[in-house]
């Protein structure tokens, strides 16, 4: 992967990798707006202070995004919980993925629904593996679990997804 400091500008790099970072951030935040705030904060911190560091920039950014998301969750957790009790929950209805043309979009929506129904710990591993192309070792380090736990969660996630989607395929 191209390091951001080798890019002509942060815009090019962000245009290419921002969507995947945002998808990850959405696994750790409650709303799209929160996820965008987290990505912004992490990216600015990275660009200013960390882009000269050795190592995989995407991995550094992921750590930064997760840390920002956890900080945000701690800051607003109690308030959000109260709000959710009051308004029946904050459901993030913005799509995870770019809409597909024609009939393909129906399938995209089915996959998104199935993804949202996965347990959080399975969905975050799946997202990191599929759309961030992280290894189980890297995922384990990021989430502070063993690589085998990360691999198990990934497998369970795929099996659950297949089970959710199969009736739709054959129905």
């Amino acid at each position: 992967m191209e390091a951001p400091h080798e890019s002509a500008s942060w815009k090019d790099w962000f245009a290419e990798h921002g969507p995947r970072l945002l998808l990850c951030a959405r696994q750790w935040t409650r709303t799209l707006a929160d996820a965008e705030d987290v990505v912004q904060e992490a990216f600015v911190r990275y660009w200013r202070h960390q882009r000269g560091l050795p190592g995989n920039p995407q991995a550094l950014l992921l750590v930064s995004v997760r840390r920002s998301a956890l900080d945000l969750a701690r800051r607003i957790g109690r308030r959000k919980a109260r709000e959710e009790l009051a308004d029946g929950g904050l459901e993030d209805r913005h799509g995870y993925f770019v809409p597909l043309p024609g009939d393909g979009d129906e399938r995209r929506r089915e996959i998104e629904c199935a993804l949202r129904r996965l347990p959080d710990e399975q969905r975050e591993v799946l997202v990191l593996k599929i759309w961030q192309e992280r290894t189980f070792d890297e995922i384990g380090r990021l989430l502070e679990v063993s690589p085998s736990t990360a691999a198990s969660r990934y497998r369970y996630a795929l099996i659950s997804l297949r089970r959710e989607l199969e009736p739709l395929c054959h129905g």
Binding site: W10, K11, F14, A15, G18, P19, R20, L22, L23, E36, D37, V39, Q40, E41, F43, V44, R45, W47, R48, S68, D71, R75, R79, H94, G95, Y96, F97, V98, L100, R108, I111, L126, I130, W131, R155, L158, I159, L161, R162, L165
Partner: protein, 175 residues
């Protein structure tokens, strides 16, 4: 891994995550530009969006405080500013309400972190006629608003509670 899971993996990887909104890129650009023009080290977490929110939040607090003062002065003719406290008014209940928050966001390192409102009473008041002679009933809703500001550097916090009365009017038939 069996074949169907592999196919599912491939199908998932063909989906492209949605892009961040254009506003995010604009905010990043503004923040990076701000960082370049600033000599002081940036504060982690102090994004432009957050600062904008804080500013809007503190404006809301100031507006709410001003509204409280306005309502108090308008609804309670006996209420008058104390001579020794230019920014304060005495409520009928005896509580002291400041018309401004004790600190502005630019003071020290304190930032607003929490605001909550407790509703504790409602009472019907006398009926009145509006200017167009519409008869209405005044209803007074009573709240206690609590604001918390925190110093990001020292983690010291500052909390104050302000009584707030909200007068609503509802259509009524007056005899």
């Amino acid at each position: 891994m069996d074949e169907s899971l592999k196919e599912l993996e491939d199908e998932l990887s063909r989906l492209h995550p949605a892009r961040p909104s254009l506003a995010v890129a604009a905010r990043i650009e503004a923040e990076l530009a701000l960082g370049e023009s600033r000599t002081a080290a940036p504060q982690p977490g102090a994004s432009v969006a957050n600062r904008t929110r804080r500013l809007a939040w503190s404006l809301c607090v100031a507006a709410a405080a001003a509204a409280v003062t306005f309502v108090a002065l308008r609804q309670s003719p006996s209420v008058a500013p104390l001579p020794d406290h230019a920014n304060s008014v005495t409520r009928p209940s005896g509580a002291v309400t400041t018309s401004q928050p004790p600190l502005s966001p630019d003071d020290a390192e304190y930032r607003p972190v929490d605001a909550r409102s407790v509703f504790y009473g409602v009472s019907a008041e006398t009926g009145v006629y509006l200017r167009d002679q519409t008869p209405v009933q005044q209803v007074r809703y009573r709240y206690l608003d609590t604001y918390t500001w925190k110093n990001q550097a020292t983690h010291a916090s500052l909390q104050w509670t302000v009584p707030r009365d909200e007068i609503r009017v509802i259509p009524a038939i007056l005899h």
